[in-house]
Structures are given as C-alpha cells and as structure tokens.
Amino acid sequence: MVTFKDFRNNVKPNWCPGCGDFSVQAAIQRAAANLEIVPHELAVISGIGCSGRISGYINSYGLHGIHGRALPIAQGLKMANRNLKVIASGGDGDGFAIGMGHTIHSIRRNVDITYIVMDNQIYGLTKGQTSPRSAAGFITKSTPGGAIEPSLKPLEVAISAGATFVAQSFSTDLKELTAIIEAGMNHKGFSFINVFSPCVTYNKVNTYDWFKENITKLSSLEGYDSSNRAQAMATVMEHDGLVTGIIYQDKEAQSYQDLVKGYHEEPLNQQDMMIEENDLQELMKEFM
C-alpha cells in the first residue's frame, strides 16, 4: 500500500517556519497516496518562487523550471506520456503575472493535468513586492503608497475562460485541500486549484486569522450546485472570491487528449519512432 510517507524525500524545505506552502506539500502527498499513485508515476512541475521549490520536496519526478512556465512544461510532459499523473504548481506571481497567458490558455486547452497555485498575495522569494493578487491599497516594498491596481480575480477569470474544474482551498484545512486535490487529479481535463497559502514573513494583512474570518465554505451554503456555471460565477462574485470548495466542475467535458486527432491510447513515448520506408516514399511522392 502507498502511504503519504512514500512521497517524502530527505530534503528539508527552506520555507520559513509557518509558511502556508508546507500544508500544500502535505496535501499533495496525501492526495497522491489516497489515489494509490506510486511515486514514480507522479511528476510535479513547478515555477520559480518560494512556492516553486515544492517539486524538490516531494518524492516523485519533479522539474523546477523557469518563472511562469510550469504549465507549458507540464502539458508537454503529459502529451509525451498520458499515463503519468502530472501536477503543475507555483505562486500567484508565477501563475497570474508572468505566466498569466499560459494559465488562461491552459484552461482553454484542457490538457488533463492539475494546477495548484499557492496564493499568498505577495512575491515571497523576491522579498515582498506586490503581486497581481494584492488588494488595492496593499503596502509593499514596490507599492510604498499602497497598491493602485485592483487585485486579480482568478476564479472569475478561470470560469470565464472555460475551465472544466475550478476549486479553491485554504492551506490550514488539510482535509478539504487533500480532498480537492484528489478530485482535481481524478477530473478528466485541466483542474485549476487556487490555495490561500499565507506568507508569514511578508504579508501581514492576509494572515491565517484574516482568512479564517473571511472565508465561506461552499459546503456551508445550502443547495450549492458545482455543476451550475452561472451559480458558480454569482457565488464567487458575491463573496469577493473568498470561498473554498469545488466551485465548478464539468464532468462531461472531454480533455484535449481525447480530442486530438490520431493521438494514441498508449503513451507516445513508447511508440516506434522510425517511419516505414513505404511511408517515406508516399510522403516524397507528393512533391514529385
């Protein structure tokens, strides 16, 4: 039997004590164990940031790439080997600033991977500048007079971009977070999971207590139907994005792999690479 301990390696994270990212790491490890994935069949692809280090702290295949590009790398990997379980993850700057283009288009493309954002509303690694998720008025090193720009609404963006799975969680709620990651990994298509993961060092506003006070759990809302896109959007807007749970899921949608013409059932990386002589002759004939 696989347990979460199988996903632990012997690397000690260099996150600050109390950083929200610890629980995200634990939740991924638990979810993978609960799904009975073996470590070598999991790949975690991460971006750059404090959060980006996560791929180095899980006993699985992992690639820590460049700032904002975890998603295209993860999609390329999944296309190469559709049997792998692929998780992409990174920070709010990684996914919503420098990598925002990839985020939107990955959602549209719907390749069967899971994307987990550790959203701390700040740039941690570069020591405390504003992020697209910082609220207007938020004071940071780069916004000494308070942020002028309004904060980005990732859930609304995801829903309007055509996401087939949108969820949000809070890193202290290990049980809910683990269940959501499991659901995301089981989802056929792209699953987008935003996680409030407080930065205890540089964000003194959006603290654990602040989230506890402001978050509404969808499970507490009577009659909430996560298959209803309009309701999902309305609920998110009503609560200014401060909800947790599975917000929207389209269980019928087909993933990108299902729709690609000629794409085989068995992984591409196991197929014969050499073309037949006959095929080459046929291809050449078209130019004669």
């Binding site: 390696n9 180095g56 790439g65 590009r69 080459l280």
Partner: protein, 583 residues
C-alpha cells in the same frame, strides 16, 4: 537549344500568381529539369506586387539568376519593377487588358496577349493564368500534354469539364502565341532533361519531413513568417504517426512545452523566426542547464524587431550562438539545400538526445521558402540515435535515494531516464544542482557540473561539418558562407576559376562548436578569405575570427537590403575586392 532558362510571372498579390508559377514549375519538374524558384512577396495578403522567378536548368541549380528570359506580366507594375532584369533577347508576355507599355530602355520584345479576354470567352477570367501558360509553352516548344497531370491534380475535384476547360485555355494560349511569334516559336526551347523523378519543395518542407523521419512526434509552435510551413505540413502529417502539432499561445510556451515533452521521452521541437527566438532564450537556457534535449528551428528573416518579415537575411547568427544569459553548451547547425535540410534535421534530433542539450537548426528565408529541386531522400541514411537514454529496467535504489541523472562522467553525458520509470526518480532544476538534481551552490560542485556540461561539446557526432569544393591545393581565394548562399557561391566559383582566380569554396554546416581545425586548414591554403553573408555586420566573418587567427586574410562581403545575392552581382563585387589590391 538552351541549357538554362529563367522565367518570371508577376502581378498583384492574391491574383493567382502563385498558381501560375506552381503549374509551370511542377510540369518542368516532372520532365526532369532542375529548378530553383524564389518568390518576391510583401507582408500584405491582398494587393501589392508579387512575383515568382524560376530558374530552369538541365543540371543542378541552387540560385536565382540575375537575368530574365521570359516575363509574364499581369499588370504594368510587373513590367516596371522587373524589366531591367530582361536580356536583349528576352520577351514580355503581357495581358492586353491593362494596355501594357514597354519602358524606353527595355531591350526585350513585348508581346501583348489577350490573356483575360480569351479566358473570359471560355467562361471565367480566372483561367487567364492558363492562357499565359499556353503562351509560355509556345516559346519553349512544349506539348500541351506536359501540363495535363498538373491540371488534373489541381482541378480534378471540380470535375472533368473544369479540367477540360483549363486544358483548352492552355491550348488557345499556345495557338495564339504561335501566331504572334512567327519564326520565334520555340525560341526558348530547352535541351531535353533526364526525366528523373525528383522532388520540388521548399526548405521548410524538407525540414518538416526530416523531423518526421527523425521520429519527432510533437511539435509545439506559434505561427510566423518564414517558419509556419513547417507546422502546417506537420499538422497534416503527424496524426498518421500518432503525433500532433500544438499551436501554443506564444513562443515561450512553444519552447517550454517542447522541453516538457522531451523530458517525457518524446522527440519534440519548435520552429520560429527571429522575434520568436528572442522570446525563447530563457527556455533555451533551461534546456542547456537541465540537460533536456531540445531542437529549435530558426528560419532567419530580416531583423531587427519586426524588420523585413518577408525578406532574406542571415542576421540571427550571433544571437543563436550567444543569446541566452549565462553559459550553456549548445549546437548550431546550418544546412544550405533541401537535401541538407532534411538530413541535418535528423542529425539535430540525434545530437540533441545524444548530448542532452539544445540544438538550433538555422535556416534562412531563401532556404525555407525558396522552392527547389531536391533528390529523393535515402531511407537507408535515416538513423535514430538516442545516446545514453535508458528506458529499460533500472537497478533498485536505496530507499529515497535519487537517481544520478547528472552524474559527472568522462564525456559529460549522464544516463538519462524519463518520468514513469521505476527507480529513476530524480530532481530537475534550472538552479545549479548536484548529480541527483538537488540544488547545490557549493563551489566544487558548480565547477564540476559546468565542466561536465561543456565536455559534451567535444563529442558532437555531426556528419560533414563543412561542405568543401576545393579544387586548388593553394588557392587565391576561399569563399565562405552558410545557409542558402551556397548556391550562389557554387555558381561564381567556376566563373572566377575561368578568369584565372584560383577559387575554393567552403560552406559551414556545423557552426557551433566551430569546426576550427578544418577551417584553419582551408584558410591556411588560401591567400584571401572572402566571407559572404546576408547581414550588415559580418557575423560569420567575426565568428571565424573568434576561432582562427587569420584576421589579415579575412574580408567580409555583406548584403543586407533584403534581397538575396545574385551570381553576376556577387561576381562583380568579389572581383572588385580582388582588384583593390587585396591579392
């Protein structure tokens, strides 16, 4: 009878000029002639002057000629823009519809032919192209049947009557022209060709076929001139081989997605031009640092910025050699012809996997879009080499001990495993790392890993790094170039020899790591080295100087107005350099 002919058709973009050129050249290809075509076009889709010049020969040709024998004009602009190329024996076949006028200083003969009118009588003015082809047939003394198979292919889907009508248009053009020509009928008759089956294709198609033959099954790309044909070809063909093309949101995604797929064990690549390559630089560095194979095609066009997007230039060289920040091992390959483009693409994939690093396959607009005769590819020469990729069972490791994916080895290459393999778990990061991929900033480790990565460049297994045509042991001049200038250099080499200038020619196919020993030898046996290239700053000349100390011999000859070198023009410039006391 002629051994060579140059023919050009021109008109407004979007008027079917391309198909006129296509039909004529495909028919000539099927007769066994060697062809080299070059399109002049602008960034507009409709409107704007466009022309297609085709060099037809009974022997190998890889260049556009200076002169023009036959100009088919569908508007006055075509005459005004192109008449200077016409020889005194040349002809203009112009559509009567626009009341063509011949400039006073034009030595050629103007024939005003009612292309549009004849076509209209047959039912549609669209067929004016066919009438023009018929008129061309009269000048070349070709049978109309020569065009039958091409017309069948293009119009067959529309039914027998359409095919028939088009053939009638050709026949009428032919008859009409015969009457006008009188005793000049067949004035441009060519010697018979050998009738061999060869391909007629653009360089981009050769590259795409090369990628397919190399076993590449994923291409991630973002459209750009002059690279798009590579993805467009593979979009049609890859699904039959289980693969796919993914059109990404930008070139950063294209390059990084290809890295992800290579990491997963599939040969993946991308293709772009200068602006896209600029966006990919960080990803190229990631490939170098994390030792993930990556093939990137750069079809050079006029830069900088958006530059001259539809014009010839070779100005990305330095950026391809040194574009990424920091220092990574990288291989840069530059094929010159359709044949080389095919085989070198396969070599690029092999080297990328053998050495686990980024390989840039450099092309230029003239090679990528110039349509040329290409000898059928030899299946037996296709070889797939994957180096130290270990896809079999791996030895059991100690609990949680990572696989040494970046093990320091003698040749710098480590055993490569891919996600999904049992006992192969390791980390990959663009941060400096130890042998298992875990981040490490230790000075000793840093040096060991840097040295390991760079050692790989001593083991590049590339067939024919330098193309050589060196008839002289001691030469007066060594001509050097890269990419598509090979054809024009091959053309002027015998001309110079004839004039008593002992001329050798070297075309560099593997630019990085630079074939220093080979080039040193060649340069050592030449009084002067003339480096011919399409850029303003003499980038290849500078690369040679960086590697070989022969600065006093090296003369840079550049052209950067967006047009390719032409043989007579280049010959004149070379001779000028030589009479300037350089020899």
């Amino acid at each position: 009878m002629l051994h060579q002919l140059s023919w050009k058709v021109g008109g407004q973009q979007g008027e079917g000029i391309e198909s006129t050129g296509e039909i004529f050249s495909t028919a000539m290809n099927r007769l066994g002639y060697h062809l080299y075509g070059y399109r002049h076009f602008s960034s507009r889709i409709k409107g704007g002057h466009t022309n297609n010049k085709i060099n037809v020969r009974t022997s190998v040709v890889h260049t556009i000629p200076d002169d023009l024998d036959i100009l088919v004009a569908f508007d006055q602009e075509t005459i005004d823009v192109n008449y200077k190329e016409l020889t005194s024996g040349g002809v203009i076949l112009a559509d009567a519809k626009f009341n063509p006028e011949k400039p006073e200083d034009c030595p050629a003969t103007l024939y005003v032919v009612p292309f549009t009118e004849v076509a209209a009588e047959l039912g549609t003015t669209l067929m004016k192209n066919m009438v023009a082809i018929g008129a061309t047939a009269a000048l070349l003394n070709l049978e109309d049947e020569v065009f039958q198979s091409v017309v069948d292919e293009i119009f067959g889907r529309k039914g027998e009557t359409v095919v028939q009508k088009n053939m009638t248009a050709i026949a009428q053009g032919h008859v009409l022209m015969n009457d006008m020509l009188g005793d000049r009928v067949g004035a441009f008759e060519l010697e018979q060709a050998d009738g061999k089956h060869r391909m007629f294709m653009i360089g981009n198609e050769a590259i795409a076929l090369g990628a397919l033959a190399a076993g590449s099954r994923i291409m991630s790309a973002y459209p750009i001139t002059p690279a798009s044909e590579i993805m467009e070809y593979l979009i049609k063909k890859l699904p039959k081989f289980g693969g796919t093309v993914i059109q990404t949101e930008d070139e950063i995604a294209a390059a990084t997605m290809a890295i992800g797929a290579n990491y997963g064990g599939v040969r993946a690549f991308t293709a772009s031009a200068g602006p896209g390559l600029s966006l990919m630089m960080e990803a190229i560095g990631l490939s170098g640092m994390t030792e993930q194979p990556l093939v990137i095609v750069d079809t050079q066009r006029g830069g900088p910025s958006t530059g001259l997007p539809t014009k010839q230039e070779q100005s990305d060289l330095m950026a391809m050699l040194y574009g990424t920040h920091g220092e990574i091992p990288k291989v840069v390959i530059a094929p010159s012809t359709g044949e080389e483009a095919f085989y070198d693409t396969i070599q690029a994939f092999n080297i990328a996997e053998e050495l686990q690093l980024p390989v840039i396959l450099l092309s230029d607009l003239q090679l990528s879009l110039g349509k040329q005769t290409v000898e059928p590819f030899d299946y037996s020469k296709i070889e797939i080499r994957r180096g130290k990729l270990e896809l079999g069972e791996l030895p059991e490791a100690e609990d949680k001990a990572y696989f040494k994916r970046f093990e320091v080895t003698e040749d710098g290459v480590s055993t490569r495993v891919v996600p999904g393999q049992k006992h192969g778990i390791h980390h990959v990061t663009g941060v400096e790392h130890d042998e298992t991929g875990k981040p490490s900033e230790a000075a000793g480790n840093r040096k060991a890993q840097m040295d390991k990565r760079f050692r790989k460049l001593d083991h590049v297994n590339f067939n024919v790094p330098v193309f050589k045509n060196t008839p002289h042991e001691e030469a007066d001049v060594l001509l050097v170039g890269f990419n598509s200038t090979k054809g024009v250099l091959e053309e002027i080499q015998p001309m110079l020899n004839e004039e008593g200038v002992k001329t050798n020619h070297a075309h560099i196919r593997l630019i990085h790591p630079f074939p220093t020993e080979e080039m040193k030898e060649l340069i050592g046996h030449a009084k002067k080295v003339i480096v011919v290239e399409n850029n303003a700053t003499g980038q290849l000349a500078n690369v040679i100087k960086m590697n070989i100390s022969a600065h006093e011999k090296i003369i840079s000859l550049v052209k950067y107005d967006g047009t390719p070198f032409l043989p007579k023009e280049l010959l004149g410039r070379v001779k000028e350099l030589l009479t300037d006391g350089n020899i």
